[in-house]
C-alpha cells in the first residue's frame, strides 16, 4: 500500500502510468457502473426491510446493523442462486457422484440458460447501434420469433430431429427478421423514426401473440391460453439430466456472437455497415447504399432477437404461454451499451445479467425479495453507463483522453 502511494506520487513510473490509464479507460466506467448499481441495489434492499425501521426506534446502531444484514442476505441469496452453494459443490466433487455433481452445478448452468437469450437480444441491439439504428423492438421480435418457432415446432410433424430443430430455430429467426425488417424498411424509405415504429411493432406483437395463443396455436386440452407442447424432434437438446436445463442454445448464441463479430469487423460489408452508422453522409458520399444497409441491418437485428425467442421455446419452455413476456428486449439495450456494442462485450454483459437474473429468481424463492430488484439494478447500471460523467464525478476519475463516443442514431433515410 505504501509503495503504491509513493509510486503514484512520482509520475512517469510504470504503475502511475498504469493507474492513469486505468482511470481514463472507458472499461473502468463500465465496471464502476456495475459496482455502483449493485451497491445501490443493496441500499434499496436494506431500505425496504421493515425491521430496519422497527429497530430505528430503539437504536441507530442496531438499525444500521440490520440494514447491513439485509443487504448482505440479499446478495448472499443472489450469489448462491446464481453460482450454487460452494460447500455443496465441493462435497459433491469429493463424493464423485455424477448425479450429485450435476445437481450442485445446476444453478450455475441455469445462469447460463438465462444468459442465452440475453446474448441473442444483446447482439440484436448492438448490431443496430453499430449501424446507427435504435432497435428498441427486440421484445416484440422475441415474441414473434417464439410464435414462429412454436408454430414450426407444433405443426410440422414427422421430421428427424437433425432437420426439425434447426428448421424451427430458423423459422423463429425469420419471424423476428420480418418484424425487424418492417421498421427498417419504413425508416429507409420514408424516414419514419425506427424507435417509434419498433415500439408500435412491440405492442402489435403482444396483441398478435394473445390472438394466436387464444386461437390457432392454443392447446385445446388446456383451459389457459397456452400453446400445445412442441414436437420432441424440434427440441434444442438439453445436455445434462434433469434438473439441469442447460441446452445447446448457449453454444448457438456464442456462435452467433462470433458470426456478428466476423460480419462487422472482418468483412467489407461490415465495414460498410459501420461506416453508415458512424457517418451516414460520408457513407453516402462514398457510394454506399444506405437504404440497403439499414433494411438489412434491421432484418438481421430482428432475426437475432427472433432467435432469442425461438431458443427459449425450443430449448427451455417447450411451449408458449401468454406470460412469456420476459423483459429481455428492454434489458438488451443495457447489454448492448454495457458491452460497448461489441459482440464479445455483449457476451460478457449477458453472462453478468444471466447470473443476476437467475440469482434473483432463486433469491425470490429463498429470501423472499421480489425479483424486480434486478430491474432496478439494471436500470441504474444503464443510467451510469449512458452518462459516464456521473460515474467520473462520483469516483473522481480523470476525463478520457479521447472524447467518449456518444451513441448517435442516424437521421438518414427517407431519400425516396
Amino acid at each position: 500500500m505504501k509503495i503504491e502511494k509513493a509510486k503514484a506520487q512520482t509520475p512517469q513510473k510504470p504503475l502511475a502510468v498504469f493507474l492513469d490509464e486505468i482511470t481514463r479507460s472507458p472499461m473502468m466506467v463500465n465496471i464502476l457502473a456495475i459496482i455502483t448499481g449493485l451497491f445501490l441495489g443493496g441500499v434499496i434492499a436494506a431500505l425496504t426491510t421493515e425491521n430496519v425501521y422497527a429497530a430505528l426506534k430503539s437504536s441507530l446502531g442496531e438499525s444500521l446493523k440490520l440494514a447491513l444484514q439485509a443487504a448482505w442476505n440479499t446478495y448472499k441469496a443472489l450469489f448462491l442462486g446464481a453460482f450454487g452453494d460452494p460447500q455443496r459443490i465441493v462435497s459433491a466433487l469429493q463424493s464423485g457422484d455424477l448425479n450429485a455433481i450435476n445437481r450442485a452445478l445446476s444453478p450455475f448452468a441455469e445462469s447460463l440458460v438465462q444468459a442465452t437469450p440475453y446474448i441473442f437480444a444483446g447482439l440484436a441491439v448492438a448490431l443496430g447501434f453499430r449501424v446507427g439504428l435504435f432497435n428498441i423492438g427486440a421484445e416484440g421480435q422475441i415474441f414473434v420469433g417464439a410464435l414462429a418457432a412454436v408454430w414450426a415446432g407444433v405443426f410440422i410433424k414427422g421430421l428427424p430431429p437433425i432437420i426439425h430443430a434447426p428448421l424451427a430455430l430458423l423459422i423463429g429467426g425469420l419471424g423476428g427478421a420480418i418484424w425487424g425488417l418492417i421498421p427498417g424498411w419504413l425508416k429507409a424509405k420514408t424516414g419514419a423514426h425506427e424507435v417509434i415504429n419498433t415500439i408500435m411493432m412491440n405492442y402489435i406483437a403482444f396483441r398478435l401473440s394473445e390472438y394466436l395463443l387464444t386461437g390457432v396455436l392454443r392447446d385445446p386440452a388446456k383451459t389457459t391460453p397456452i400453446s400445445a407442447p412442441i414436437e420432441r424432434s424440434a427440441w434444442i437438446p438439453r445436455l445434462f439430466p434433469d434438473p439441469n436445463r442447460f441446452h445447446a442454445g448457449f453454444f448457438i448464441a456464442l456462435f452467433m456472437a462470433l458470426l456478428v463479430y466476423i460480419l462487422l469487423f472482418k468483412t467489407t460489408w461490415g465495414f460498410e455497415l459501420r461506416t453508415v452508422g458512424a457517418n451516414p453522409s460520408a457513407a453516402r458520399y462514398a457510394g454506399m447504399n444506405i437504404v440497403r444497409s439499414m433494411v438489412i441491418t434491421m432484418a438481421l437485428s430482428g432475426g437475432l432477437a427472433g432467435l432469442a425467442g425461438a431458443n427459449e421455446v425450443l430449448g427451455v419452455n417447450r411451449n408458449l404461454g401468454v406470460a412469456f413476456s420476459s423483459g429481455y428486449g428492454f434489458d438488451s439495450i443495457a447489454l448492448a451499451l454495457l458491452g460497448n456494442s461489441h459482440p464479445l462485450g455483449v457476451v460478457l454483459a449477458s453472462l453478468l445479467f444471466g447470473f443476476l437474473r437467475n440469482g434473483a429468481i432463486q433469491m425470490q424463492l429463498t429470501a423472499g425479495i421480489p425479483i424486480d430488484i434486478i430491474s432496478i439494478i439494471q436500470a441504474m447500471i444503464l443510467a451510469f453507463i449512458a452518462a459516464p460523467a456521473i460515474i467520473r464525478t462520483i469516483y473522481r476519475l480523470k476525463p478520457p483522453k479521447e472524447p467518449e463516443i456518444r451513441l448517435q442514431t442516424s437521421s438518414a433515410g427517407g431519400s425516396s
Partner: protein, 421 residues
C-alpha cells in the same frame, strides 16, 4: 433528409398527387362499405342504438333505423365526397373530410354489426371518453417535452410510478394528497429525464428506457413487498363523479361528456390551456422555437436548456397527473404494471395528433373508441377479433408516421442535445 424539409407545409398546401391519392382512398373506403357491409345485409333488418348510458338519469329514446337504407346513404355520401375530391379537391380541408369519411366507415361498421341487435351507442361513447383520459393526458406530456426538443418515451414509466404513489399516499393520507404525490413523482422522473438528457446529454431514448425499466422494477418491487402484504396501503378510494350543472342534462351528449370525475374535466381544461399557452403566448413560442431551431432561439436570447428543463419538468408533472388517473379516477387500486403499455399509446396519440393538443385529444378519443369497442365486439358478433382492434392504434400510428396518408411534422430539433458554441 430531403423529405423532412419538403413536408414543412405550414400553409396547408396539399400537392395534386396527394389530392388524388386521397380521392382514391375515399373511393376505397366507400367500396369497403359496400363490399363488407351492404352485401352482407338483408334489407328490412333494423339496427337499434341505445342512447342512454347505463345508470344515467338523462333519458333519451333509442334510435332505431333500417340498416340497409342507412348503409346505402353512407355509401352514397362517401362516393359523392370521393368524386368531389377527385374532380375539384377539398384542398386544405382534405384531412377533415378524411376524418368524416372514416367516421362514416366506423358508423357503417357499427350499424352493420348491430343489425338485428341492439347496441348501446351512448355507453360505447361514454367509455370512449373515459378510456381516452390517460392517452390524451399522456400525449400532452409528450407534447410539452417534444415541442421543446426532448423525446419522452418515458411516459409509461412516469405514469406507472405516479399510479403507485397515488395508491400508496392516497391510502395513507387522502386522495388529494395521493394526487399531489403522483404529480410530484412525475415531476421527479421528469427531472431525471431532463438531467440525463440535457445536462449529461445522454441519448434521449436511452434516458427514457432507463426510466421505464426503473419505474417498472421499483413499482413492482415495492408493490410485491408492501402493497400486497398490507392491503390497507392499496385502498385510496376514487374521485366521485360530478355532473356539470346544465350541460350534463343535454340529451345524449350530456351523459357522454359531462358526467365524469375530476380527471375528465381536467383534460378538457388542460386541452384549452395547453393550446392557448403553446400557440398564443410568448412562452409557447419560445418553447416551440427551442424545439425547432435551438441555435436561432439562443441567438435571440432564449435560454435553450432552461426552457427545456421547464418543459420536461412540466411534461413529467402532466404524466404524473395522467398516472394518478389509473388509481384515483379509474380502478382504485394498484396492480403490477397496470398501465399495460398505455404510455406508449399516448405516445402514438401524440404522433397521430401531430404534436398538437387538439390533435392529441382527437387521437386519444379515437384510440379510446377502439379500446371501448374492443370490449363490445363480442356483443356484436362481428368476425373481427378484438385483439386486432387493440392493434389498431399502433398500426394507424405507423401509417401516419410513414406518411402514407399525410405525414406528421415532428419538432425539427427533437432528440438532439443542445451545445452552446
Amino acid at each position: 433528409m430531403t423529405t423532412q424539409t419538403m413536408t414543412k407545409s405550414a400553409t396547408g398546401y396539399i400537392s395534386p398527387t396527394r389530392e388524388r391519392v386521397m380521392g382514391v382512398l375515399f373511393l376505397i373506403i366507400a367500396a369497403a362499405i359496400w363490399v363488407f357491409f351492404i352485401r352482407n345485409t338483408t334489407p328490412g333488418v333494423e339496427t337499434t342504438f341505445g342512447m342512454t348510458p347505463g345508470g344515467s338519469q338523462v333519458q333519451t329514446p333509442d334510435w332505431v333505423f333500417e340498416t340497409y337504407t342507412a348503409l346505402n346513404i353512407l355509401l352514397f355520401l362517401s362516393i359523392a365526397l370521393a368524386v368531389y375530391q377527385l374532380v375539384r379537391g377539398f384542398k386544405r380541408y382534405t384531412n377533415i373530410v378524411l376524418g368524416v369519411i372514416s367516421g362514416f366507415f366506423i358508423f357503417a361498421f357499427l350499424a352493420w354489426g348491430a343489425s338485428g341487435l341492439s347496441l348501446n351507442l351512448s355507453g360505447l361513447l361514454r367509455v370512449m371518453v373515459i378510456r381516452s383520459v390517460p392517452l390524451t393526458l399522456g400525449a400532452f406530456s409528450g407534447i410539452l417535452c417534444e415541442r421543446s426538443g426532448v423525446f419522452n418515451i418515458a411516459i409509461e414509466g412516469m405514469m406507472l410510478t405516479a399510479a403507485f404513489c397515488a395508491a400508496l399516499f392516497g391510502s395513507l393520507v387522502n386522495i388529494w394528497f395521493g394526487l399531489l404525490t403522483a404529480m410530484i413523482s412525475g415531476l421527479v422522473l421528469g427531472g431525471v429525464l431532463a438531467v440525463l438528457a440535457i445536462k449529461y446529454k445522454v441519448n434521449q431514448i436511452i434516458a427514457g428506457t432507463v426510466i421505464n425499466i426503473f419505474a417498472t422494477g421499483l413499482t413492482s418491487f415495492l408493490s410485491a413487498k408492501f402493497l400486497q402484504k398490507y392491503q390497507y396501503l392499496n385502498n385510496p378510494g376514487r374521485f366521485p363523479t360530478w355532473d356539470v350543472p346544465g350541460l350534463s342534462q343535454i340529451p345524449f351528449i350530456g351523459p357522454i361528456f359531462f358526467s365524469h370525475n375530476l380527471f375528465v374535466y381536467a383534460m378538457y381544461i388542460l386541452l384549452i390551456v395547453l393550446t392557448v399557452a403553446l400557440f398564443y403566448t410568448r412562452w409557447g413560442l419560445r418553447l416551440r422555437s427551442v424545439g425547432e431551431h435551438p441555435k436561432a432561439a439562443d441567438t435571440l436570447g432564449i435560454q435553450v436548456n432552461r426552457t427545456r428543463y421547464m418543459a420536461v419538468l412540466l411534461g413529467g408533472t402532466m404524466a404524473g397527473f395522467a398516472g394518478a388517473y389509473f388509481i384515483l379516477g379509474s380502478v382504485g387500486r394498484f396492480d403490477e404494471v397496470l398501465t399495460a403499455g398505455r404510455g406508449f399509446i399516448a405516445l402514438a396519440a401524440m404522433i397521430f395528433g401531430n404534436w398538437n393538443p387538439f390533435g392529441a385529444f382527437g387521437a386519444g378519443l379515437l384510440f379510446g373508441f377502439a379500446d371501448s369497442l374492443a370490449g363490445k365486439l363480442t356483443i356484436l358478433r362481428v368476425p373481427i377479433h378484438n385483439k386486432f382492434l387493440e392493434m389498431a392504434p399502433y398500426i394507424v400510428t405507423m401509417i401516419v408516421l410513414a406518411g402514407i396518408i399525410g405525414r406528421g411534422q415532428p419538432p425539427a430539433a427533437g432528440g438532439q442535445p443542445y451545445e452552446k458554441e
